[in-house]
Amino acid sequence: MMATADRTGRPVRGSWRMTALPAMIAATVVLCLSSVAVGTRTIGLADLLAGMQGATDSIGQAAVAARVPRTLLAALAGSALGLSGAIMQGVTRNPLADPGILGINNGAALAVVIGIAWFQIGTASTYIWLAILGAGLTAVFVYAIGSVGRGGATPLKLALAGAATSVAFSSLTLAIVLPRNDIAGGVRSWQIGGVGGATWDRIELVLPVLLIGAAIAMMSARKLNLLALGDDLAAGLGEKVAFARGMASLGAIMLCGAATAICGPIGFVGLVVPHLCRLLFGVDHRWLLPCSALAGAALLILSDVIGRLIARPSELDVGIVTAFVGAPFFIWIVRRQRVRDL
């Protein structure tokens, strides 16, 4: 799985990157534009351009005004999730790590719901910190129970611990939300993630956190490369293994916690994207991380557009679409692994 193309000694990877990267950037731009143009109402070029400049005279232009923040939020959340998935797979050296599968997104959602229900927290900026706290606690917790016993954190143990934890947490979320009529209407938004409610205010709130998280993530790229060699070798090369793990995880948790606080739990983006990027760009995290962020944005925008198109005139939450795209991929990865490695 970790095979690189330059095994033969030829610098194949470099030229690949130079074609794949521009192609991916172009695809992301096209997806952004189509996300603004396509939906319940398809918008012509004239309205599109006018709407982009802030005009809201016709229905089409108003739709554009609503879709621009939505697209931006999808891009931000997608890159946060893709990046955090790539880090989690690197830190745990586990091909099935993903903030959704490990239950971390559900933990973040639970923390927010607890805050709303019991501590009367009503401001979206506090949600973000709560969600990050919840994500962090859940990550530590799931990793701890997943790595008890023989063989450490094997994919099977980690995935089971995550699946069980997320079932437990979504039950708890329901138990807290249900008797409170004032927030019960929002049950769905804590069960399925969506980017439908995007506003500029929300994006402004979450953007600094995402940027800090991404910066921490990028700084740990080199450390992740060393960790990939195995703990002993990494320590031998002078890396502080525990510190590297902790720092990279902090970045990943900030990213997925903040994304969950704004969009609700969205699964599988963090699983699919790093695997695809590894196929295209190799295993060097200095490439893998930024490319995962880009591909995550593209995947989430694509899923959102698909969700708007197939359920016309209403729409499908993006969390549902990513599950349908991602779960078969998850199964494919599972089938590729040797039983011994599970």
Binding site: S171, L174, L178, P179, Q191, P328, V339
Partner: protein, 346 residues
Amino acid sequence: MTETVTTLSALIRGRRSRATRWRGIVTGLLAVLLAGIALTLMLGQSFTPPDVVARVLMGEQVPGAAFAVGQLRLPRAVVSVLAGLSFGLGGVAFQIMLRNPLASPDIIGVSAGSSAAAIFGIVFLSLDGASLFGLSIASGLAVALLIYGLSFKGGVAGSRLILVGIGISAMINSFIAYSLARAPSWDLQEAMRWLSGSVNGARLEQAGPMILSLIVFGGLVLTRSRALEALRMGEDMAAALGVSVGATRLSVMIGAVGMIAVATATTGPIAFVAFLSGPIAARIVGPNGSLLMPAALIGAGLVLLGDYAGQFLLPGRYPVGVVTGALGAPFLIYLIIRANRTGSAL
């Protein structure tokens, strides 16, 4: 010669005492369950004396109690017990078969498959009755076979099967979410039934299909009891003992899925009951004796108690699935840690 005889008689004595102990445990659990049923019939918003309950059960029209006991409490208790038996037995059968307590049908997506079909049938096809059960069973089986097929790669490894199940279950859960979102009116009560299970609005007519499924599918699982016991020791060992592993797996899967599907189509997937019953039974019974019956009785007790607690013991009223889901969570975590540490089944 005498030595062999004493060894043999010691073996026989050991087996007898284990069998007696097992029977004692099952009788005890049964007694507890019956006491629980009696209590839930007597206690509610108001207390009904036992003699009045008995008269209502005999079919007498007692003013003031006939409605509360006969129309509200009795159907609830009956449906709870039957659903609990189905979940407990179906769950433990899966756990033994796959030799992992976490491989219960509610975690690997089989319950979700039945639940999704039931929702789909109700929301999109307006089905009810036999056709709904049929659809639910068929899709539970289809999901189980799909998981089995997708994890087949020169033999089925338990670990791969569980992981494939987790993936399928994520997909099905989002389908459930989608169906609920498309339902004509977003009815929270109805949605709760399908998200976490509830016996609110239970009716006595619902008992019929579940009794039938317990007889047919439960019988199918119970007849495989010995083979399942052998499977507890591992596939190779079971095969060496003359168990046909493939055939056992198939019939246990059909039986367990059938029971769970019918119960799920009635009450929704009551969270964690299928998952918790087996391990609790294993704690009580120990290594000697079949877990099937004890787990079924424990499942029934869990649903009955969970529903009672959700109605009367907790602040606010919760459907049973929320109670079992929330209270089951700590135990679940304890189990994961324990299972990981020992690396063993049940």
